[in-house]
Symmetry: C2
């Protein structure tokens, strides 16, 4: 990766699940996030889970490595997941969530965060430290 | 936007500031996040700020609309900012942060989250609800 040192990796994931009820279970989602953090070898500093009325849950883990977040729309069977980490195993954390939420379809965008030196003309818009 | 209904908008921003000390001021960053949320017309449910040793701050606002997060690397003059919102004015929120942190350079990727119907072959990998 000559010329491209990134401070963090950010997995932006779109999860579509088989059973939307899993996306309205705040306690279950909290456990899933914690299990994901463990599998990703992240250190959890703090956590916040909020259940919306009539449905939907937001859960965020504050990590030493950055953050792990989930926002759910049970009415669409959809969950937005962010795994932002400057170390550890973010893809393993995402895999844990995928298994626990019985995901039918997933799309992931893998973003570099804090690129210290940009490459030349590319398809991505890269941060330049100047 | 026929054929492309998204549940949320996610601004993934890379900020490079003039004075790195602003990135190590946890209280100042908390105020900046709250001001950004106000300007973005977001509802703050909860907030968490953590100052790392020897430097660096993580701040997350839990929003009714999703989340607003900042992770700083003062040693590089860099802050990773995420504005993830299903309503309100995310670009305005980001503008507030940009002003308060005296940003020298910024790169933003604007991502749709939870696309309910995918378009045909495109450059982005889109989520499909099926």
């Amino acid at each position: 990766m000559a010329g491209r040192a990134a401070l963090g990796k950010h997995l932006v994931a779109e999860l579509w699940v088989r059973d939307p009820r899993t996306l309205d279970d705040a306690a279950g989602l909290e456990q899933a996030l914690l299990a994901a953090a463990e599998r990703g070898r992240f250190t959890v500093l703090d956590r916040k889970i909020h259940a919306f009325s009539p449905h939907g849950v937001t859960g965020i883990l504050l990590l030493s490595e950055s953050h792990l977040a989930i926002h759910t729309w049970p009415e669409y069977g959809y969950a937005a997941v962010d795994v932002f980490s400057c170390s550890g195993a973010p893809w393993e954390a995402l895999e844990e969530l995928k298994e626990r939420l019985d995901v039918e379809h997933i799309e992931v965008r893998e973003l570099d965060r804090g690129l210290l030196r940009s490459v030349g003309a590319g398809s991505l818009r890269l941060a330049r430290h100047r």
